[in-house]
Subunit: 153 residues, 2 copies
Amino acid sequence: MANTRWLDDDEMAAWTSFLEATHRVFREVEAQLRDEAGLSHPQYEVLIKLHGAGADGLRMTELATSLITSKSGLTYQVGQLEKRGLVTRGACPTDTRGVTARITPAGSEALRAAAPGHVERVRSVLIDLLDREQLTAVTDAMTSVNTRLREDG
Amino acid sequence: MANTRWLDDDEMAAWTSFLEATHRVFREVEAQLRDEAGLSHPQYEVLIKLHGAGADGLRMTELATSLITSKSGLTYQVGQLEKRGLVTRGACPTDTRGVTARITPAGSEALRAAAPGHVERVRSVLIDLLDREQLTAVTDAMTSVNTRLREDG
DNA sequence: ACAGGCGAGTTCGAATTTGAACAACGCCGT
DNA sequence: ACGGCGTTGTTCAAATTCGAACTCGCCTGT
């Protein structure tokens, strides 16, 4: 193996600032959702995806892939949401093995109730702290990362 | 309460790309550390901080604050590292209540062993995917976020 | 039609995380 | 010196997370 290409000052600054920011942002967002909406962030993300999917719902694997989470973790979270009546599980029409998750009216309502506080917190810990130039720069950089990482899976 | 200031397209793009990227990046980094170094990312972060602190070590609370983690979580992780001989806990000279954590030679060695693979993965999932301009833009934006969020803590 | 390989979801056990409660101590004003 | 309050670090129970193993159904080649 080749010698390690250590991070130079700029690279290290990028990594450490990224690390700190993500920890801070997620801590804040998770606290807000738990305290004000009674939802964990993973649960909120599930509801958002299912809401966007409409009446057809989504297969468990599609959901896990798009949320970048483990299959077992998703099974657990969907189970929790199902217990609370925010989500239903149904058979998949085209695949006997498949499970289709759908959001319920109660789930949509929970989302409607949670969204304002959530958005406000997202603003206060990230969006509103950046000017327009920084905002598009972040989007640009993160999109680059996502595009590359989607490829080799 | 005022009407919610919903996110416009650019703002939403920033948030969703940030969300996806952080999930992907952390998933990759954690997998690398677990598989190749037998360390969790939180543990690696503890070792890094203690390594940087030198022989004086760090108080538990200082450590928790700088890692942006909960006190109880840190107690657990330091306990794990202590079991494995990578860290020691000692009384704090200036405060009877205090506990000072220090990295051991074995801990430094574990860090030396883990670092190359870790850095390589950090490069491959983030640093090397950005050009110099994007790199500084990310640092700039994340530093803004950190500076603001450190204030009202 | 059938075997082998692959994919879908769940289950399982172990490890981890969190906030709240707790015991002990420092610090400040009186 | 002392009472009261904020801190420090740990403990606790409960919830969550992960990967590996597993079951069962799809699908391709022969």
